[in-house]
């Protein structure tokens, strides 16, 4: 069962650096051959790249423990990335912090009651300007879904 009291909780802030090699690895993994990622010496990061900020996150960065999600029943419901300018380029230092924005339930067609958990992760530059936001939706299904 998801702990609904987790709404509003914030994670521990942490610093990260956007790196060229990581951008290249990520672009390759998402089947890009775009020279803007692969050849530019200071490439911008791909639209979904900031998921990899998890590599920089300390244990307290996301409140998954407090949410008490059963990871065997959790599906990734979706993500939205917003950029307040070009996506952060290689060499950019960012500070990130997450918070649990919303938790709500819906009746699923096959999986019983589904619980939706929405979290927002903000990314700010060294001057404190908001550079990017990543909004994530996790869905805990009532039972494991089967292949449709």
């Amino acid at each position: 069962m998801v702990n609904k009291n987790a709404v509003g909780q914030t994670g521990e802030p942490f610093d990260l650096v956007v790196e060229r090699g990581k951008i290249r690895e990520f672009a390759r993994a998402t089947k890009s051959q775009n020279p803007e990622y692969l050849d530019d010496p200071t490439p911008v990061s791909p639209p979904t790249f900031l998921v990899s900020s998890v590599f920089w996150a300390p244990p307290g960065a996301a409140r998954w423990g407090d949410l008490q999600l059963d990871m065997r029943r959790v599906l990734d419901g979706g993500r939205e990335f917003v950029f307040h300018g070009p996506p952060p380029a290689a060499g950019t230092k960012l500070t990130s912090q997450s918070r649990v924005e919303d938790i709500y339930e819906k009746e699923g067609k096959r999986g019983g009651t589904m619980t939706f958990v929405v979290t927002v992760q903000e990314f700010r530059d060294e001057a404190g300007n908001l550079v990017a936001e990543m909004r994530s939706t996790a869905i805990e299904t009532g039972k494991p879904p089967t292949e449709g």
Partner: protein, 138 residues
């Protein structure tokens, strides 16, 4: 990327593009790149114990492929929003087709923007990802 504001009228479509067939190696490679090591995407026994026929792709992999399709079309530096909603799961051997269309064209604060509707479809015709994006148009 050579596509300008004049080209991007509402209803303008990008050339559809195929990706795949996707392999378990593609899943693992994405997991390594992204840092999402949920074993349900690479550990057969774990996936079966959770009620699945086999391992399945990471939702963010096909979302990332759809993002690649969009930024190849309109430029890596010009994206301002990219969203993805996960529909059908993607399985080993699936071939994905990405399509995109301009749904809105507008100016705001002296900048020109286009909104896109993006879809990533499985070879079955089922929708894997419903996506949306906003780009600055030069």
């Amino acid at each position: 990327m050579g596509v300008t504001w004049e080209d991007l009228t509402e209803g303008t479509k990008a050339e559809p593009r195929e990706f795949g067939p996707l392999t378990r190696t593609d899943f693992v490679r994405y997991q390594g790149a992204s840092g999402d090591f949920n074993p349900i995407h690479h550990d057969e026994e774990y996936a079966k114990s959770a009620g699945f026929a086999t391992v399945f792709s990471v939702g963010m992999l096909q979302a990332g492929i759809l993002a690649t399709y969009a930024t190849d079309w309109l430029g890596a530096a010009d994206v301002r929003r990219f969203g993805a909603q996960f529909r059908e799961q993607v399985w080993p051997g699936d071939t994905l087709t990405c399509t995109g269309e301009v749904t809105k064209r507008y100016e705001d604060g002296g900048e020109r923007f286009v909104d896109l509707e993006l879809v990533c479809t499985r070879q079955t015709g089922g929708t894997a990802i419903k996506g949306w994006a906003t780009f600055v148009a030069q």
